[in-house]
Symmetry: C2
Subunit: 217 residues, 2 copies
């Protein structure tokens, strides 16, 4: 498999963690989002939406797109170790928590949004940073509102084994702590789980700030 991604991309991070947990090796191709390489013709042939990640399967054919769809594909085709519980209700909870990151928090801080706020709305860097920290924290608060009260919460977001919820939680925590310096004092359950995740190589090794691209930047 070949994974098109970028060191700073949280959606790439999610896929890399899942690949590592499932023991799947991929070749990585870096698409430099800071230089706008996602808009170049060569990459548009890989993903016409001009976003990362995109996963090319060994069998060929159109690359897979959208991180959550890729995570579900990996779960269906390489079920061990499972990243979703077996019961439909538990699966709904895990997906719901994951989607708070994927579909509420993360879409607000991606490069195209930051660029629009700067260029179309002429907002200052201070205001843009306020936006980025605010919505990242809001997603963590939304996760916290579930995790702190629900009996399914364990060592991780859902029981004592890692699920897709933890992967997406960790991505938002990377954004909050490493990128946007949000005040995470109000989300202690989220941070406890994030710290648990970071004890695992799959989460730690894929951390954006541990990638070669981050050190070169």
């Amino acid at each position: 498999m070949k994974l098109y991604g970028f060191w700073r991309s949280l959606a790439t991070y999610r896929v890399k963690v899942a690949l590592a947990l499932k023991g799947i090796r991929v070749d990585e191709v870096s698409i430099d989002l800071l230089k706008g390489k996602q808009h170049e013709q060569d990459y548009l042939k890989v993903n016409p939406q001009a976003v990362v990640p995109a996963l090319v399967l060994d069998e060929g054919g159109p690359p897979l797109f959208q991180s959550m769809a890729i995570l579900e594909y990996l779960e269906e085709t390489k079920p061990q170790p499972p990243l979703l519980p077996k019961d439909p209700r538990g699966r709904a909870r895990v997906r719901g928590l994951a989607l708070i990151g994927v579909a509420d928090g993360h879409p607000l801080v991606v490069p195209r949004i930051r660029s629009f706020l700067e260029k179309e709305f002429q907002l200052s860097e201070e205001k843009r940073n306020q936006w980025l920290a605010h919505w990242t924290l809001k997603s963590l608060e939304a996760m916290e509102s579930h995790l702190k009260n629900e009996k399914e919460t364990g060592r991780y977001a859902h029981g004592d084994t890692v699920t897709l919820a933890d992967i997406c939680l960790a991505g938002q925590c990377v954004a909050a702590t490493a990128y946007f310096k949000a005040d995470v004092a109000g989300v202690p359950t989220v941070m406890r789980i994030y710290n648990e995740c970071m004890k695992l190589d799959a989460f730690k090794d894929a951390h954006p700030m541990h990638q070669p691209g981050a050190q070169a930047h």
Copy 2:
């Protein structure tokens, strides 16, 4: 089952279409997002994130949250008629297309974002409308970039039967046409599929502008 939603909510729309397609009857409870009812204590007990929809199951227990997680739950517990193809790769494509709506387009136009742009950033109504139309159209263009070229596209987004991709596409098309008056001339494949969907009662009857709340508004 009991569905907490709102006539104008695109996420509620998605769930209502799926319920109708699967022949599941639910009691509906309206949470008036325009009046801020989602922030009241009674509703926070249902969904602490203060968003709709939330689905209460007959067996009780915590409500399900996040529309895409609810759609997956319905698919797992009432598989007929199927809203995902059988093959993992097809499922990944359908989920990917669906998530362009759920995780890229829709999160940018929800009430909390509109409120932030108005109150925190003091952006004019004109600029806010520009934002809403722009990002809704961008999501449709992203879908179009796949649909127009890929051989899996049929009468609907993936072959000739309705899938979750059509449901999420239709939601974004409702936003583009009924809410934000986006210029959809550049997304002909998307609009062709939307028009196919609207021939079906499940899509038509759930259309936000056909709800009692819309007429009262």
